[in-house]
């Protein structure tokens, strides 16, 4: 199932139970998967047209009236375009608004550089009070949605909207602010979020063939980051690799290294090397950005060699 369909199905459940759950779009309801909710919940859905900043502040106003708004757009428009509204109307004002950005990083594919957010985590991470969550697959998203609903505050949900490889098994329990150990290892800690998690698990197989036992931790909540888990794993293995579909500046790499700043542990980054995106399909973009399974394995070896 596509992630946007899972997201919309989860929303429908919440909207059914709680009439204060409202959904706002900026002419991307179809892209976000929420279009179907408009007929089913006419009094809980509002298309604001192509005016994301207005949408963000309206959501803050609705929140002050006891509503629980979810606003959606593509990641660049849900973050850098509404940066001031996210900061002031939403987070500074302590509003319970969930901001959903779809098509993160290279997953914007054919929309190209203008729609390809390499900086959205950095933008949102620097806003005090903003929680950042990036799901890996539909199992994790489904488990997270009710938990996020009960969290009274602002959350940025960085949502890959198409189908993903399945990483988590049914029965998975989601804990907000707690990173997930996907695989234990002793030689290197690999911290990963979002769509590159499956590629990382593939890379781990390549590493195992060469006798390197990698630990893989999915940092689904990039802010606040699970310091305890990051620190314990890095201290145990003595080498770190971060893997992200985002600029290596301001995203997961930065978040992990902020935790490890006092530690003498070598760290290497797989991610977008401070450049804009361009048009192309995901395999092409992974190749030119150095985000392939082989790139991840090679980077892990570099980190291990630095020990």
């Amino acid at each position: 199932m596509e992630m946007r369909a899972v997201y919309a199905a989860c929303l429908a459940e919440l909207m059914e139970q709680d009439r204060h759950v409202v959904v706002l779009d900026a002419d991307l309801a179809k892209a976000s998967g929420t279009r179907g909710l408009y007929e089913r919940f006419p009094n809980q859905t509002f298309n604001c047209g192509i005016a994301e900043q207005n949408m963000a502040s309206i959501a803050a106003g609705l929140s002050s009236y006891g509503f629980k708004p979810y606003i959606e757009s593509f990641t660049p428009f849900a973050t850098r375009r509404i940066c001031d509204q996210a900061a002031i109307s939403i987070s500074y004002a302590k509003r319970n608004v969930k901001i959903v950005g779809t098509d993160p990083g290279i997953s914007a594919e054919l929309n190209g550089g203008t729609h390809m957010s390499m900086e959205d985590i950095g933008v949102m991470r620097s806003i005090p009070g903003m929680v950042i969550f990036e799901p890996v697959d539909e199992v994790q998203l489904r488990a997270a949605m009710p938990v996020l609903y009960h969290y009274d505050g602002c959350v940025y949900i960085r949502l890959f909207r198409k189908e993903t490889a399945q990483v988590f098994q049914e029965g998975y329990r989601f804990e907000l602010f707690k990173a997930d150990m996907l695989r234990e290892g002793k030689d290197i800690s690999i911290f990963v979020s979002g769509m590159l998690t499956a590629d990382t698990l593939e890379a781990v197989k390549l590493l195992a063939e060469e006798g390197i036992h990698a630990e893989v931790i999915n940092v689904h909540t990039i802010k606040p980051i699970d310091k305890e888990t990051v620190l314990a794993s890095a201290q145990k293995t003595g080498a770190v690799l971060t893997v992200e579909n985002h600029n290596v500046i301001g995203g997961l790499h930065s978040a992990v290294l902020e935790v490890l700043a006092q530690e003498k542990i070598p760290a290497v980054a797989v991610g977008v090397q401070d450049r804009f995106g361009e048009v192309g399909k995901i395999p092409y973009l992974k190749k030119i950005m150095g985000l392939n399974t082989e790139d991840i394995a090679a980077a892990a070896k570099r980190a291990v060699a630095l020990k």
Binding site: V22, N43, F46, C48, G49, A51, Q53, N54, A56, S57, I58, A59, A60, G61, L62, S63, S64, Y65, G66, F67, D84, Q85, I88, S89, Y92, A93, K94
Partner: protein, 274 residues
């Protein structure tokens, strides 16, 4: 009633001077231009209860020109939301009365504002919330004339009309001045009434926005527009720094100005007509 409101205006105006004067600097001009409006809203028009500041279904005020916080605080204190003595903590470290309105700090403030343009969109969200709850509340939102240069104001204007939010009453503090110069010299907004009409709003123009009777009539008329299917905009022609001649004379320099204790005394004497 009018006579009473005039006394209320004097009290609010003096409190604005006293609290900003205590600090020695502040947004005096745009606070003084709003005094009559705030007096009529808080002492006559709004369905509110200072003893139940979070009362369900109450009327709301979103002061989108958040820098007029001190005037709103003075009105709230005089209306009994909190002790007038607290006004002297304005803008001091740890205060509940920061320069710009903050719903999480100040009793009676309905929305956090300060980044211009945003509060008006928030007010639209509040008005939508009230419609969904069907609680009959009227939502008032004050914007500045300079603030009307923000694109977000017009995004909000379009949405409010499209969604028929006739429980929303916008009020433009049209004092014609902004920080750098006159509004027309900086980036003209005329013809303002035509713009709002073209965006699908009822427009009520008030010739003297510093006359309580005229302000009161306009607010009553706006309330009669509930049911019209259109939001209403009251354009208040006001004077920046109104009520204190030496402040008025400063023109756009009174936006955020220094003030001495002695000048505060002079201002209060003029306001009180002594």
């Amino acid at each position: 009633m009018n006579q009473d409101l005039k006394e209320v205006c004097k009290d609010i105006r003096c409190d604005v001077m006293t609290c900003i004067g205590h600090l020695g600097v502040g947004h005096i001009g745009g606070c003084l231009s709003l005094v009559e409006l705030l007096a009529v809203l808080y002492f006559q028009e709004m369905n509110i209860d200072p003893k139940q500041p979070r009362m369900a279904g109450r009327d709301r005020l979103v002061c989108s020109k958040g820098h007029a916080g001190p005037a709103v605080y003075a009105a709230l204190a005089n209306r009994g939301y909190f002790d007038r003595a607290e006004l002297l903590t304005l803008n001091q470290g740890g205060t509940n009365l920061p320069s710009h309105c903050d719903m999480n700090r100040t009793v009676g403030i309905d929305m956090t504002t300060g980044s211009l343009g945003q509060g008006f969109s928030c007010a639209v969200g509040v008005a939508l919330g009230s419609k969904l709850e069907n609680d009959g509340a009227t939502v008032y939102s004050i914007i500045g004339d300079g603030e009307s240069q923000e694109g977000q104001i017009w995004e909000a204007a379009m949405f409010a009309a499209a969604k028929k939010l006739d429980n929303l009453v916008g009020i433009t503090d049209y004092n014609k001045l902004q920080i750098d110069d006159t509004v027309e010299n900086v980036n003209g907004i005329m013809p303002l009434s035509d713009k709002w009409r073209a965006f699908g709003w009822n427009v009520i123009e008030v010739e003297d926005g510093n006359d309580t009777a005229q302000v009161s009539d306009a607010l009553k008329q706006a309330k009669r527009f509930a049911g019209s299917g259109k939001p209403s905009m009251i354009i208040l022609h006001t004077v920046k720094g109104c009520g204190v001649s030496f402040i008025e004379e400063k023109g756009s320099a009174n936006h955020n100005m220094n003030i001495s204790e002695e000048d505060v005394k002079r201002a209060i004497a003029e306001i009180r007509g002594e």
